[in-house]
Symmetry: C2
Subunit: 304 residues, 2 copies
Protein backbone atom coordinates (compact mmCIF):
# COMPACT_ATOMS: atom_id res chain seq x y z
CA UNK A 1 0.00 0.00 0.00
CA UNK A 2 1.31 3.43 -0.95
CA UNK A 3 1.34 6.13 1.71
CA UNK A 4 1.12 9.64 0.28
CA UNK A 5 2.79 12.79 1.54
CA UNK A 6 2.01 16.15 -0.07
CA UNK A 7 4.81 18.69 0.24
CA UNK A 8 4.00 22.32 1.07
CA UNK A 9 5.96 23.58 -1.95
CA UNK A 10 7.75 22.41 -5.07
CA UNK A 11 10.65 20.17 -4.10
CA UNK A 12 13.29 22.50 -2.72
CA UNK A 13 16.46 22.18 -0.61
CA UNK A 14 14.64 22.15 2.73
CA UNK A 15 12.90 18.93 1.66
CA UNK A 16 16.25 17.16 1.42
CA UNK A 17 15.82 15.00 4.57
CA UNK A 18 12.60 13.53 3.15
CA UNK A 19 14.12 12.73 -0.24
CA UNK A 20 17.24 11.29 1.39
CA UNK A 21 15.11 9.04 3.61
CA UNK A 22 13.18 7.88 0.54
CA UNK A 23 16.26 7.40 -1.66
CA UNK A 24 18.29 5.52 0.95
CA UNK A 25 15.43 3.18 1.85
CA UNK A 26 14.90 4.50 5.38
CA UNK A 27 11.12 4.57 4.91
CA UNK A 28 11.18 1.14 3.27
CA UNK A 29 13.09 -0.17 6.29
CA UNK A 30 10.15 0.99 8.42
CA UNK A 31 7.67 -0.75 6.13
CA UNK A 32 6.48 2.52 4.62
CA UNK A 33 6.09 2.73 0.83
CA UNK A 34 6.03 6.53 0.72
CA UNK A 35 4.97 8.50 -2.37
CA UNK A 36 6.10 12.12 -2.17
CA UNK A 37 3.83 14.51 -4.08
CA UNK A 38 4.46 18.14 -5.01
CA UNK A 39 1.46 20.48 -5.02
CA UNK A 40 0.82 22.79 -7.98
CA UNK A 41 -0.88 25.14 -5.50
CA UNK A 42 0.41 25.12 -1.91
CA UNK A 43 -2.97 26.40 -0.71
CA UNK A 44 -4.50 23.01 -1.57
CA UNK A 45 -2.55 21.04 1.02
CA UNK A 46 -4.57 21.45 4.23
CA UNK A 47 -7.82 20.64 2.46
CA UNK A 48 -6.33 17.57 0.75
CA UNK A 49 -4.97 16.26 4.06
CA UNK A 50 -7.98 17.52 6.01
CA UNK A 51 -10.30 15.39 3.86
CA UNK A 52 -7.94 12.40 3.88
CA UNK A 53 -7.28 12.55 0.14
CA UNK A 54 -3.65 12.28 1.19
CA UNK A 55 -2.17 10.65 4.28
CA UNK A 56 0.51 13.16 5.24
CA UNK A 57 1.38 16.74 4.40
CA UNK A 58 3.68 19.61 5.25
CA UNK A 59 2.28 22.93 6.40
CA UNK A 60 2.81 25.77 8.93
CA UNK A 61 1.20 26.39 12.32
CA UNK A 62 -1.19 29.08 11.17
CA UNK A 63 -2.61 26.71 8.56
CA UNK A 64 -3.30 24.12 11.24
CA UNK A 65 -5.23 26.60 13.37
CA UNK A 66 -7.16 27.87 10.34
CA UNK A 67 -7.88 24.39 9.00
CA UNK A 68 -9.30 23.20 12.31
CA UNK A 69 -11.48 26.31 12.49
CA UNK A 70 -12.92 25.32 9.10
CA UNK A 71 -13.65 21.75 10.04
CA UNK A 72 -10.51 20.08 8.68
CA UNK A 73 -9.14 18.43 11.83
CA UNK A 74 -5.47 18.24 10.91
CA UNK A 75 -2.80 17.83 13.53
CA UNK A 76 0.97 18.21 13.50
CA UNK A 77 3.11 15.35 14.76
CA UNK A 78 6.53 16.83 14.05
CA UNK A 79 8.68 19.67 12.74
CA UNK A 80 10.86 19.54 9.63
CA UNK A 81 12.16 23.12 9.52
CA UNK A 82 12.35 25.12 12.73
CA UNK A 83 11.76 28.89 12.72
CA UNK A 84 13.13 30.01 9.35
CA UNK A 85 12.90 33.83 9.36
CA UNK A 86 10.12 34.98 7.03
CA UNK A 87 9.09 38.35 5.77
CA UNK A 88 8.70 40.90 3.01
CA UNK A 89 11.55 40.39 0.56
CA UNK A 90 12.78 42.92 -2.01
CA UNK A 91 15.84 44.03 -3.95
CA UNK A 92 17.81 46.85 -2.35
CA UNK A 93 17.69 48.66 -5.71
CA UNK A 94 13.90 48.99 -5.16
CA UNK A 95 14.67 51.78 -2.69
CA UNK A 96 12.41 50.17 -0.06
CA UNK A 97 13.91 50.60 3.44
CA UNK A 98 11.10 50.17 5.94
CA UNK A 99 7.54 48.97 6.06
CA UNK A 100 5.96 52.35 5.25
CA UNK A 101 7.93 52.38 1.98
CA UNK A 102 5.61 49.60 0.77
CA UNK A 103 2.87 52.18 0.25
CA UNK A 104 2.08 52.34 -3.45
CA UNK A 105 3.86 49.07 -4.16
CA UNK A 106 2.84 45.72 -5.61
CA UNK A 107 3.15 42.98 -2.98
CA UNK A 108 3.41 39.31 -3.88
CA UNK A 109 1.86 36.72 -1.58
CA UNK A 110 1.61 32.93 -1.63
CA UNK A 111 -1.97 32.28 -0.61
CA UNK A 112 -4.83 33.40 1.58
CA UNK A 113 -2.97 33.84 4.86
CA UNK A 114 -0.09 35.78 3.41
CA UNK A 115 -2.64 38.33 2.25
CA UNK A 116 -4.36 38.43 5.65
CA UNK A 117 -1.00 38.93 7.34
CA UNK A 118 0.07 41.72 5.00
CA UNK A 119 -3.30 43.48 5.24
CA UNK A 120 -2.99 43.40 9.04
CA UNK A 121 0.55 44.82 8.95
CA UNK A 122 -0.49 47.55 6.50
CA UNK A 123 -3.43 48.48 8.72
CA UNK A 124 -1.10 48.76 11.73
CA UNK A 125 1.20 50.98 9.66
CA UNK A 126 -1.69 53.21 8.63
CA UNK A 127 -1.52 52.21 4.95
CA UNK A 128 -4.97 51.94 3.33
CA UNK A 129 -5.81 48.87 1.19
CA UNK A 130 -6.19 51.18 -1.82
CA UNK A 131 -2.57 52.24 -1.36
CA UNK A 132 -1.02 48.93 -2.33
CA UNK A 133 -1.71 46.12 -4.75
CA UNK A 134 -1.65 42.49 -3.70
CA UNK A 135 -0.53 39.99 -6.36
CA UNK A 136 -0.93 36.26 -5.79
CA UNK A 137 2.39 34.75 -6.88
CA UNK A 138 2.04 31.31 -5.33
CA UNK A 139 5.42 29.63 -5.12
CA UNK A 140 7.08 32.06 -7.53
CA UNK A 141 8.05 35.10 -5.47
CA UNK A 142 11.64 35.08 -6.73
CA UNK A 143 10.57 34.96 -10.35
CA UNK A 144 7.93 37.66 -9.78
CA UNK A 145 10.47 40.04 -8.20
CA UNK A 146 13.18 39.23 -10.76
CA UNK A 147 10.78 39.92 -13.63
CA UNK A 148 9.39 43.09 -12.07
CA UNK A 149 5.85 41.73 -11.61
CA UNK A 150 5.96 42.76 -7.94
CA UNK A 151 8.12 45.14 -5.88
CA UNK A 152 8.24 42.93 -2.80
CA UNK A 153 6.93 39.51 -1.82
CA UNK A 154 6.56 37.24 1.18
CA UNK A 155 9.47 34.82 1.40
CA UNK A 156 11.79 32.89 3.67
CA UNK A 157 15.28 34.20 4.49
CA UNK A 158 17.09 30.91 3.92
CA UNK A 159 15.23 30.13 0.70
CA UNK A 160 13.73 32.90 -1.43
CA UNK A 161 16.02 35.63 -0.08
CA UNK A 162 19.16 33.59 -0.71
CA UNK A 163 17.91 32.56 -4.15
CA UNK A 164 16.95 36.12 -5.15
CA UNK A 165 20.24 37.50 -3.86
CA UNK A 166 22.18 34.86 -5.82
CA UNK A 167 20.29 35.59 -9.01
CA UNK A 168 19.64 39.36 -8.87
CA UNK A 169 21.88 41.10 -6.32
CA UNK A 170 21.53 42.61 -2.83
CA UNK A 171 18.22 42.13 -1.02
CA UNK A 172 16.57 43.02 2.26
CA UNK A 173 13.91 41.35 4.35
CA UNK A 174 11.39 42.97 6.71
CA UNK A 175 10.62 40.12 9.06
CA UNK A 176 7.01 39.28 9.92
CA UNK A 177 7.96 38.13 13.41
CA UNK A 178 9.45 41.55 14.12
CA UNK A 179 6.79 43.64 12.34
CA UNK A 180 4.02 41.77 14.14
CA UNK A 181 5.81 41.64 17.49
CA UNK A 182 5.57 37.85 17.63
CA UNK A 183 8.74 37.49 19.66
CA UNK A 184 9.85 34.41 17.74
CA UNK A 185 10.26 33.51 14.11
CA UNK A 186 8.20 30.36 14.46
CA UNK A 187 5.58 31.71 12.13
CA UNK A 188 6.85 29.72 9.15
CA UNK A 189 8.13 26.53 10.78
CA UNK A 190 7.39 23.64 8.39
CA UNK A 191 5.44 20.91 10.13
CA UNK A 192 4.41 17.35 9.40
CA UNK A 193 0.63 17.02 9.46
CA UNK A 194 -2.08 14.40 9.10
CA UNK A 195 -5.81 14.13 9.70
CA UNK A 196 -6.37 13.44 13.41
CA UNK A 197 -8.39 10.31 12.55
CA UNK A 198 -5.46 8.96 10.55
CA UNK A 199 -3.11 9.56 13.49
CA UNK A 200 -5.54 7.84 15.87
CA UNK A 201 -6.30 4.88 13.62
CA UNK A 202 -2.91 4.27 12.03
CA UNK A 203 -0.23 5.33 14.52
CA UNK A 204 2.18 2.74 13.08
CA UNK A 205 2.47 4.64 9.82
CA UNK A 206 3.05 7.92 11.68
CA UNK A 207 5.78 6.21 13.69
CA UNK A 208 7.28 4.76 10.51
CA UNK A 209 7.34 8.17 8.80
CA UNK A 210 9.03 9.79 11.79
CA UNK A 211 11.56 6.97 12.18
CA UNK A 212 12.54 7.14 8.53
CA UNK A 213 12.64 10.92 8.51
CA UNK A 214 14.77 10.94 11.65
CA UNK A 215 17.39 8.91 9.77
CA UNK A 216 17.10 11.15 6.70
CA UNK A 217 17.54 14.19 8.93
CA UNK A 218 20.60 12.75 10.66
CA UNK A 219 22.14 11.86 7.29
CA UNK A 220 21.44 15.37 5.95
CA UNK A 221 22.98 17.02 8.99
CA UNK A 222 25.96 14.69 9.22
CA UNK A 223 26.73 14.45 5.48
CA UNK A 224 25.28 17.63 3.95
CA UNK A 225 27.18 17.44 0.65
CA UNK A 226 26.16 13.86 0.00
CA UNK A 227 22.58 14.61 1.05
CA UNK A 228 22.26 17.52 -1.37
CA UNK A 229 23.75 15.39 -4.14
CA UNK A 230 20.97 12.85 -3.54
CA UNK A 231 18.40 15.66 -3.53
CA UNK A 232 19.71 16.91 -6.90
CA UNK A 233 19.71 13.42 -8.38
CA UNK A 234 15.96 13.37 -7.78
CA UNK A 235 15.41 17.06 -8.62
CA UNK A 236 17.98 18.08 -11.23
CA UNK A 237 16.63 21.68 -11.43
CA UNK A 238 18.21 22.23 -7.99
CA UNK A 239 21.70 21.50 -9.26
CA UNK A 240 22.97 25.09 -9.46
CA UNK A 241 24.93 27.49 -7.27
CA UNK A 242 21.89 29.41 -6.04
CA UNK A 243 20.09 26.31 -4.75
CA UNK A 244 23.30 24.93 -3.25
CA UNK A 245 23.57 28.20 -1.33
CA UNK A 246 19.90 27.85 -0.30
CA UNK A 247 20.63 24.35 0.97
CA UNK A 248 23.57 25.52 3.10
CA UNK A 249 21.42 28.38 4.41
CA UNK A 250 18.71 25.91 5.45
CA UNK A 251 21.11 23.71 7.45
CA UNK A 252 20.75 25.73 10.70
CA UNK A 253 16.97 25.40 10.59
CA UNK A 254 16.53 21.66 10.11
CA UNK A 255 14.87 20.27 13.23
CA UNK A 256 17.13 17.48 14.42
CA UNK A 257 14.70 16.17 17.03
CA UNK A 258 11.62 16.78 14.84
CA UNK A 259 9.73 18.09 17.88
CA UNK A 260 6.85 20.53 18.00
CA UNK A 261 7.72 23.52 20.22
CA UNK A 262 5.00 24.51 22.70
CA UNK A 263 6.25 28.11 23.05
CA UNK A 264 5.90 28.63 19.31
CA UNK A 265 2.44 27.07 19.09
CA UNK A 266 1.24 29.38 21.86
CA UNK A 267 2.57 32.47 20.12
CA UNK A 268 1.17 31.56 16.72
CA UNK A 269 -2.15 30.65 18.35
CA UNK A 270 -2.51 34.16 19.72
CA UNK A 271 -1.44 35.59 16.37
CA UNK A 272 -4.01 33.47 14.48
CA UNK A 273 -6.65 34.75 16.90
CA UNK A 274 -5.53 38.35 16.36
CA UNK A 275 -5.75 37.84 12.59
CA UNK A 276 -9.24 36.40 12.94
CA UNK A 277 -8.38 33.10 11.28
CA UNK A 278 -9.01 31.06 14.42
CA UNK A 279 -11.19 31.54 17.49
CA UNK A 280 -9.09 28.93 19.27
CA UNK A 281 -5.64 29.91 20.56
CA UNK A 282 -5.09 26.71 22.55
CA UNK A 283 -2.67 24.51 20.62
CA UNK A 284 -3.29 21.31 22.58
CA UNK A 285 -5.49 19.79 19.86
CA UNK A 286 -3.18 21.04 17.08
CA UNK A 287 -0.10 18.98 17.74
CA UNK A 288 1.42 15.99 19.47
CA UNK A 289 4.98 14.98 20.27
CA UNK A 290 3.96 11.37 20.89
CA UNK A 291 5.70 10.25 17.69
CA UNK A 292 9.03 12.03 18.16
CA UNK A 293 11.52 9.19 17.73
CA UNK A 294 14.58 8.30 19.72
CA UNK A 295 17.73 8.71 17.62
CA UNK A 296 18.33 5.89 15.19
CA UNK A 297 21.22 3.69 16.24
CA UNK A 298 23.05 2.14 13.29
CA UNK A 299 25.29 -0.18 15.28
CA UNK A 300 24.64 -2.34 18.30
CA UNK A 301 26.30 -0.93 21.40
CA UNK A 302 29.18 -2.79 22.96
CA UNK A 303 28.07 -4.83 26.00
CA UNK A 304 28.13 -2.77 29.20
Amino acid sequence: MKTTLVLNWFANPYHTPLYVAKALGFFDDCGLDLAILQPANPSDVTQIVGTQKADFGLKAMIHCYAARERGYPIKSFGTLLDEPPTGLLFLQESGIKEFKDLKGKRIGFVGEFGKIIFDDLAKRAGIAPSDYEMVRVGMHAVDAIARGRVDAAMGIACFQQVELESRCGPTDLLRVDELAGLGCCCFCSVLLIAHENFIASDPDRVHALMQGLQRGMAYTQESPDEAFEIMCDHNPHLRDDAFKKVFVSCLPYFSRRLENVERDWNKVGKYAQHLGVSKEADPSACYTNAFVPEPHVRHAALPS
Copy 2:
Protein backbone atom coordinates in the same frame (compact mmCIF):
# COMPACT_ATOMS: atom_id res chain seq x y z
CA MET B 1 35.86 45.70 33.87
CA LYS B 2 36.85 42.86 31.59
CA THR B 3 34.81 39.68 31.70
CA THR B 4 36.78 36.59 30.67
CA LEU B 5 35.57 33.58 28.75
CA VAL B 6 37.87 30.59 28.20
CA LEU B 7 37.08 28.57 25.11
CA ASN B 8 37.14 24.75 25.24
CA TRP B 9 39.50 24.58 22.26
CA PHE B 10 41.62 26.72 19.96
CA ALA B 11 39.36 29.15 18.09
CA ASN B 12 37.58 27.04 15.48
CA PRO B 13 34.53 27.39 13.25
CA TYR B 14 32.02 26.35 15.91
CA HIS B 15 33.06 29.38 17.98
CA THR B 16 31.87 31.70 15.22
CA PRO B 17 28.74 32.97 17.05
CA LEU B 18 30.92 34.16 19.96
CA TYR B 19 33.41 35.97 17.74
CA VAL B 20 30.60 37.51 15.67
CA ALA B 21 28.89 38.80 18.81
CA LYS B 22 32.19 40.27 19.97
CA ALA B 23 33.12 41.77 16.59
CA LEU B 24 29.71 43.30 15.92
CA GLY B 25 29.45 44.86 19.37
CA PHE B 26 26.57 42.68 20.60
CA PHE B 27 28.29 42.08 23.95
CA ASP B 28 29.23 45.76 24.21
CA ASP B 29 25.56 46.64 23.63
CA CYS B 30 24.77 44.55 26.72
CA GLY B 31 27.44 46.31 28.75
CA LEU B 32 29.78 43.33 28.63
CA ASP B 33 33.47 43.91 27.85
CA LEU B 34 34.22 40.30 26.97
CA ALA B 35 37.75 38.95 26.60
CA ILE B 36 37.79 35.62 24.75
CA LEU B 37 40.71 33.38 25.74
CA GLN B 38 41.98 30.22 24.04
CA PRO B 39 43.37 27.47 26.25
CA ALA B 40 46.68 25.82 25.42
CA ASN B 41 45.36 22.73 27.17
CA PRO B 42 41.60 22.13 27.05
CA SER B 43 41.82 20.05 30.22
CA ASP B 44 42.57 23.24 32.19
CA VAL B 45 39.19 24.86 31.61
CA THR B 46 36.96 23.40 34.32
CA GLN B 47 39.55 24.03 37.01
CA ILE B 48 40.14 27.62 35.85
CA VAL B 49 36.40 28.34 35.86
CA GLY B 50 35.82 26.20 38.94
CA THR B 51 38.25 28.31 40.95
CA GLN B 52 36.94 31.58 39.47
CA LYS B 53 40.22 32.39 37.72
CA ALA B 54 37.97 33.04 34.74
CA ASP B 55 34.34 34.13 34.65
CA PHE B 56 32.96 31.97 31.87
CA GLY B 57 34.04 28.89 29.99
CA LEU B 58 32.95 26.33 27.42
CA LYS B 59 32.89 22.65 28.27
CA ALA B 60 30.85 19.44 27.86
CA MET B 61 28.34 17.78 30.19
CA ILE B 62 30.63 15.06 31.43
CA HIS B 63 33.14 17.71 32.54
CA CYS B 64 30.46 19.45 34.59
CA TYR B 65 29.55 16.25 36.41
CA ALA B 66 33.21 15.41 37.01
CA ALA B 67 34.12 18.93 38.09
CA ARG B 68 31.34 19.07 40.68
CA GLU B 69 32.41 15.67 42.00
CA ARG B 70 35.88 17.15 42.56
CA GLY B 71 34.66 20.22 44.36
CA TYR B 72 34.60 22.67 41.46
CA PRO B 73 30.96 23.75 41.51
CA ILE B 74 30.54 24.78 37.86
CA LYS B 75 27.15 25.02 36.26
CA SER B 76 25.98 25.33 32.68
CA PHE B 77 23.61 28.14 31.73
CA GLY B 78 23.36 27.46 28.02
CA THR B 79 24.32 25.41 24.97
CA LEU B 80 26.45 26.60 22.06
CA LEU B 81 26.72 23.43 19.99
CA ASP B 82 24.00 20.81 20.29
CA GLU B 83 24.84 17.11 19.94
CA PRO B 84 27.67 17.04 17.43
CA PRO B 85 28.37 13.34 16.76
CA THR B 86 31.64 12.31 18.37
CA GLY B 87 33.72 9.21 18.16
CA LEU B 88 36.82 7.31 17.10
CA LEU B 89 38.04 8.84 13.87
CA PHE B 90 40.42 7.23 11.38
CA LEU B 91 41.37 7.12 7.72
CA GLN B 92 39.69 4.40 5.69
CA GLU B 93 43.12 3.40 4.39
CA SER B 94 43.94 2.32 7.98
CA GLY B 95 41.84 -0.79 7.34
CA ILE B 96 39.90 -0.24 10.57
CA LYS B 97 36.24 -1.18 10.13
CA GLU B 98 34.78 -1.83 13.57
CA PHE B 99 35.68 -1.32 17.19
CA LYS B 100 37.50 -4.66 17.60
CA ASP B 101 39.88 -3.60 14.81
CA LEU B 102 41.32 -1.03 17.25
CA LYS B 103 43.15 -3.88 19.00
CA GLY B 104 46.88 -3.30 18.62
CA LYS B 105 46.41 0.31 17.54
CA ARG B 106 47.56 3.68 18.86
CA ILE B 107 44.56 5.74 19.98
CA GLY B 108 44.69 9.52 20.34
CA PHE B 109 42.67 11.20 23.07
CA VAL B 110 42.19 14.81 24.19
CA GLY B 111 42.34 14.57 27.95
CA GLU B 112 41.44 12.50 30.97
CA PHE B 113 37.84 11.66 30.13
CA GLY B 114 38.55 10.61 26.57
CA LYS B 115 40.90 8.00 27.98
CA ILE B 116 38.35 6.84 30.55
CA ILE B 117 35.72 6.54 27.82
CA PHE B 118 37.99 4.58 25.49
CA ASP B 119 39.17 2.27 28.25
CA ASP B 120 35.54 1.53 29.11
CA LEU B 121 34.67 0.78 25.48
CA ALA B 122 37.74 -1.44 25.09
CA LYS B 123 36.82 -3.35 28.24
CA ARG B 124 33.30 -3.90 26.92
CA ALA B 125 34.79 -5.17 23.65
CA GLY B 126 37.10 -7.55 25.48
CA ILE B 127 40.29 -5.74 24.47
CA ALA B 128 42.92 -5.69 27.22
CA PRO B 129 44.67 -2.41 28.12
CA SER B 130 47.95 -3.99 27.04
CA ASP B 131 46.49 -4.50 23.57
CA TYR B 132 46.32 -0.82 22.63
CA GLU B 133 48.35 2.31 23.22
CA MET B 134 46.77 5.57 24.35
CA VAL B 135 48.45 8.76 23.10
CA ARG B 136 47.44 12.11 24.52
CA VAL B 137 47.09 14.40 21.48
CA GLY B 138 45.21 17.29 23.07
CA MET B 139 43.60 19.43 20.39
CA HIS B 140 45.67 17.93 17.58
CA ALA B 141 43.93 14.71 16.58
CA VAL B 142 43.90 15.62 12.88
CA ASP B 143 47.60 16.39 12.84
CA ALA B 144 48.39 13.22 14.81
CA ILE B 145 46.47 11.01 12.38
CA ALA B 146 47.79 12.83 9.31
CA ARG B 147 51.39 12.42 10.51
CA GLY B 148 50.92 8.80 11.51
CA ARG B 149 51.45 9.38 15.24
CA VAL B 150 48.19 7.56 15.97
CA ASP B 151 45.93 5.19 14.02
CA ALA B 152 42.68 6.62 15.35
CA ALA B 153 41.64 9.44 17.67
CA MET B 154 38.61 10.88 19.41
CA GLY B 155 37.06 13.65 17.34
CA ILE B 156 33.85 15.36 16.32
CA ALA B 157 32.14 14.50 13.03
CA CYS B 158 31.52 18.10 11.96
CA PHE B 159 35.02 19.26 12.92
CA GLN B 160 37.95 16.85 13.02
CA GLN B 161 36.36 14.32 10.67
CA VAL B 162 35.56 16.95 8.05
CA GLU B 163 39.00 18.51 8.44
CA LEU B 164 40.83 15.17 8.20
CA GLU B 165 38.76 14.11 5.20
CA SER B 166 39.49 17.42 3.45
CA ARG B 167 43.21 17.13 4.10
CA CYS B 168 43.90 13.39 3.84
CA GLY B 169 41.07 11.51 2.12
CA PRO B 170 38.20 9.20 3.10
CA THR B 171 37.55 8.68 6.81
CA ASP B 172 35.19 6.81 9.10
CA LEU B 173 33.89 7.46 12.59
CA LEU B 174 32.82 4.94 15.22
CA ARG B 175 30.43 7.00 17.30
CA VAL B 176 30.71 6.98 21.08
CA ASP B 177 26.96 7.44 21.52
CA GLU B 178 26.38 4.25 19.54
CA LEU B 179 29.25 2.23 20.98
CA ALA B 180 28.21 3.12 24.53
CA GLY B 181 24.47 2.78 23.88
CA LEU B 182 23.81 6.35 25.02
CA GLY B 183 20.80 6.75 22.74
CA CYS B 184 21.70 10.33 21.90
CA CYS B 185 24.80 12.09 20.67
CA CYS B 186 24.65 14.69 23.42
CA PHE B 187 27.92 13.49 24.86
CA CYS B 188 29.92 16.30 23.26
CA SER B 189 27.46 19.20 23.29
CA VAL B 190 29.45 22.37 23.95
CA LEU B 191 28.03 24.27 26.92
CA LEU B 192 28.48 27.67 28.49
CA ILE B 193 29.64 27.34 32.08
CA ALA B 194 30.45 29.46 35.11
CA HIS B 195 31.11 28.95 38.81
CA GLU B 196 27.74 28.65 40.57
CA ASN B 197 28.71 31.51 42.93
CA PHE B 198 29.36 33.76 39.95
CA ILE B 199 25.94 32.91 38.49
CA ALA B 200 24.27 33.60 41.83
CA SER B 201 26.13 36.83 42.58
CA ASP B 202 26.36 38.35 39.11
CA PRO B 203 23.33 37.22 37.11
CA ASP B 204 23.43 40.43 35.05
CA ARG B 205 26.66 39.41 33.39
CA VAL B 206 25.28 35.95 32.63
CA HIS B 207 22.21 37.60 31.09
CA ALA B 208 24.41 39.96 29.10
CA LEU B 209 26.54 37.11 27.75
CA MET B 210 23.47 35.16 26.68
CA GLN B 211 21.78 38.19 25.11
CA GLY B 212 24.87 39.04 23.09
CA LEU B 213 25.48 35.44 22.10
CA GLN B 214 21.85 35.05 21.04
CA ARG B 215 22.38 37.86 18.53
CA GLY B 216 25.70 36.39 17.38
CA MET B 217 23.98 33.03 16.92
CA ALA B 218 21.11 34.55 14.93
CA TYR B 219 23.58 36.42 12.73
CA THR B 220 25.62 33.25 12.16
CA GLN B 221 22.56 31.21 11.23
CA GLU B 222 20.96 33.89 9.08
CA SER B 223 24.13 35.13 7.33
CA PRO B 224 26.55 32.20 7.48
CA ASP B 225 28.95 33.46 4.79
CA GLU B 226 29.33 36.88 6.39
CA ALA B 227 29.68 35.31 9.83
CA PHE B 228 32.49 33.03 8.75
CA GLU B 229 34.22 35.95 7.05
CA ILE B 230 34.18 37.79 10.40
CA MET B 231 35.50 34.66 12.13
CA CYS B 232 38.38 34.45 9.64
CA ASP B 233 39.18 38.14 10.01
CA HIS B 234 39.89 37.41 13.67
CA ASN B 235 41.46 33.99 13.08
CA PRO B 236 43.19 34.03 9.69
CA HIS B 237 44.40 30.43 10.03
CA LEU B 238 40.79 29.36 9.45
CA ARG B 239 40.67 30.93 6.01
CA ASP B 240 41.00 27.76 3.94
CA ASP B 241 38.71 25.28 2.19
CA ALA B 242 38.92 22.65 4.92
CA PHE B 243 37.81 25.01 7.71
CA LYS B 244 35.10 26.53 5.49
CA LYS B 245 33.78 23.01 5.06
CA VAL B 246 34.01 22.48 8.83
CA PHE B 247 31.99 25.66 9.34
CA VAL B 248 29.22 24.54 6.97
CA SER B 249 29.20 21.14 8.67
CA CYS B 250 28.73 22.81 12.07
CA LEU B 251 25.71 24.85 10.95
CA PRO B 252 23.17 22.11 11.75
CA TYR B 253 24.49 21.81 15.31
CA PHE B 254 24.46 25.42 16.46
CA SER B 255 21.89 25.76 19.23
CA ARG B 256 19.57 28.57 18.17
CA ARG B 257 17.74 28.80 21.51
CA LEU B 258 20.91 28.16 23.54
CA GLU B 259 18.95 25.90 25.88
CA ASN B 260 20.20 23.07 28.01
CA VAL B 261 18.36 19.83 27.15
CA GLU B 262 17.12 17.85 30.16
CA ARG B 263 16.96 14.54 28.29
CA ASP B 264 20.64 14.83 27.38
CA TRP B 265 21.75 15.79 30.88
CA ASN B 266 19.95 12.74 32.26
CA LYS B 267 21.63 10.41 29.79
CA VAL B 268 25.10 11.82 30.31
CA GLY B 269 24.55 11.76 34.09
CA LYS B 270 23.96 8.02 33.97
CA TYR B 271 26.95 7.60 31.67
CA ALA B 272 29.21 9.61 33.99
CA GLN B 273 28.06 7.39 36.84
CA HIS B 274 28.79 4.27 34.80
CA LEU B 275 32.28 5.57 34.03
CA GLY B 276 32.88 6.27 37.70
CA VAL B 277 33.61 9.97 37.20
CA SER B 278 30.57 11.09 39.18
CA LYS B 279 28.53 9.56 41.98
CA GLU B 280 25.73 11.99 41.17
CA ALA B 281 23.54 11.33 38.12
CA ASP B 282 21.00 14.03 38.95
CA PRO B 283 21.64 17.01 36.67
CA SER B 284 19.49 19.52 38.57
CA ALA B 285 22.52 21.24 40.16
CA CYS B 286 24.51 21.07 36.91
CA TYR B 287 22.52 23.42 34.73
CA THR B 288 19.92 26.14 34.56
CA ASN B 289 17.82 27.53 31.70
CA ALA B 290 17.01 30.69 33.68
CA PHE B 291 19.21 32.77 31.38
CA VAL B 292 17.94 31.53 28.02
CA PRO B 293 17.02 34.78 26.25
CA GLU B 294 14.00 35.68 24.21
CA PRO B 295 14.95 36.29 20.57
CA HIS B 296 16.53 39.66 19.94
CA VAL B 297 14.18 41.99 18.07
CA ARG B 298 16.03 44.47 15.84
CA HIS B 299 13.03 46.59 14.89
CA ALA B 300 10.08 47.84 16.88
CA ALA B 301 6.87 46.06 15.94
CA LEU B 302 4.15 47.97 14.14
CA PRO B 303 1.36 49.03 16.54
CA SER B 304 -1.27 46.33 16.94
